[in-house]
Symmetry: C2
Amino acid sequence: MPISPLAVAFPRLLPVAGVRFATAAAGIRYRGRTDVMLAEFAPGTTVAGVFTRNQCPGAPVTWCREILAAGQARGLLVNAGNANVFNGIAGMNAVRSTAAAAAQALGCRSEEIFTASTGVIGEPMPAERMVAVMDELAGRLDPDHWDEAARSIMTTDTFPKGATRVARIGGVEVRISGIAKGSGMIAPDMATMLAFVVTDAAIPAPILQSLLKSGAEPSFNCITVDSDTSTSDTLLLFATGQAPHPPVQDTRGLVGFRKALIAVLHDLAQAVVRDGEGAQKLIDITVTGAVSARSARRIGLAIANSPLVKTAIAGGDANWGRIVMAVGKAGEPADRDRLAVAIGGVWMARDGQIVAGYDETPVVAHMRGLEIRIAVDLGLGRGRAQVWGCDLTHGYVDINGAYRS
Amino acid sequence: MPISPLAVAFPRLLPVAGVRFATAAAGIRYRGRTDVMLAEFAPGTTVAGVFTRNQCPGAPVTWCREILAAGQARGLLVNAGNANVFNGIAGMNAVRSTAAAAAQALGCRSEEIFTASTGVIGEPMPAERMVAVMDELAGRLDPDHWDEAARSIMTTDTFPKGATRVARIGGVEVRISGIAKGSGMIAPDMATMLAFVVTDAAIPAPILQSLLKSGAEPSFNCITVDSDTSTSDTLLLFATGQAPHPPVQDTRGLVGFRKALIAVLHDLAQAVVRDGEGAQKLIDITVTGAVSARSARRIGLAIANSPLVKTAIAGGDANWGRIVMAVGKAGEPADRDRLAVAIGGVWMARDGQIVAGYDETPVVAHMRGLEIRIAVDLGLGRGRAQVWGCDLTHGYVDINGAYRS
């Protein structure tokens, strides 16, 4: 597949003290590329996680949820090509055997190894292929291999995704760097993808969890590609504790850190939606005037997930009628006669009807661009949300009609 | 567009005493075809209706809801090409003026004229074009013009849709005939389309309403094309009271009638989904073992609406992993380790994993057919549902990326 026209360049990710990466080609499904990534964390690393809400999660998700309670991590093992989902007891055995191999290679306990898998569902996981490359992986861990790590976890992604920020805690600089992969089956809650973020800050696991959970809301939980929710969604945040800042007791003093973390999560989520399968246009939807922020987000996602809105945008059609339809289908409070709709900053409809003298010319020009801005005002309250999606194209049909073959 | 490969022939619809039809080319949007339909009902005709749950309904829906309370109908006026949605007060004025013109032509009150519109949203409704053909319409009403009526209300439909049955009430034969149009923006509740059914039975409006509401559940409320919910969905049932059966006091004695009515609604709903925009394959989904029938239906619709399931089927890929994903995303009770999935009668996965020795050959052959049968058993309870959808193809993207242009 050609690289998405919405691609953003992979930034130079700041190395983070206390984490090293290695990748290998285990031949799980793909040939001629890396498909396994191992990360090693310094002793004392804390961890937070947010996972898919799909009722049929993969074995790696089940495993991560179990070990997350302890809040400690020494390693992360990720593969692409096989999601290890719906493999019954064999799936959990595959997780245990690969985690055990990674633990042995890193000199820690299995329960300190987090795992994630992405790819086809329901095919037996060839764990032995991952185990076979474990020593090779452990032998070439490198703090600077962010780019390689990002590439090794891609499936139908057309570009690697990374983000990086610095912040200060108690006057001491800390770093936050992360990678992610998409690119179909992306819908809240939470957004369906793999993302791994590492900071050298020293933050107790419960505080880290609270930061991650709230940070996922305006980022990963506000993007959608196709309304489908993966069985494997995993967002993990590791804090290696290597930065020499004063101890963190609570969230006071973490204002700057939180802001930087949200910026990283936002960048990663944006990169995921920009690489939505077949996407040719980014859709940026702002909903205002809803009865609540939650209602606004639901309305925004109804618009972003509407096949009719998405195909209209693919076709360059400023079809605000379908936006009205999608607002109405959300099941949230809406008053047809107070509704206003804008595309590209031009209000086309207000108070339940087309704006008098509406001139489509600037809107048509906007529709030719790569980033389509839709604004909807409900006129009911102060609820506001911003969500992001992408268009529905022939590329999506092609990719997903032939993914396994 | 070529005719859907899933098309069914338009049956010979039985004329129903007490209803006559006429169609005309008003040039509302389309050229060279009929786009307006007028039906006249005998005095004393009762009516029942079920409408879209979209929060931004069109003016005709608002009008029908208002006048339905009286339970009486003398006429039905329908147009294709303009949905008369989101036109503010002008939209309601258009309904009033066309209903008034129809009432004058048929010699009744405006409040006895039901209206429905389908087509583009948010464009002013040229009511005067409909008014201009009203006398022409009234001058050539004919009880046998079902086929013409069905054709005049089509939008992106590729074939006209009709269904007919006979039943007995108190030993006297009654007829039920109906027409419908689809074919995008089809999702419950209720199914998003226009359907008009007429019987010569004499049934009080409250009983008729109850029959229609329950009949829509296993038919129109179990189909979906694209998860989008139209602003204009309208299902109306008219009873002309011309059949000489004994008076109906309650639903006792209507067992046969109810069965025939459901058969008509089922046929029409099936025809709609078979003409889903771009559809190349019908998807027939049976969900069993859910905690309730409602839960089963939601799971079935989550499968039928999943873009990843729909594109896999378009590509002939027996990708049961995506079916598992869709079950899990429905948000309904599901236990990954009890789940079973079959395609074409072949159980591929049971108890949370692939069936030992699963041979894909017969399933691959089934996937090449026009009708794909999916069965899911949750293993939790006795809830059961059957729903129908269609695949997501390049045709859908083509049609909806260029609908207005």
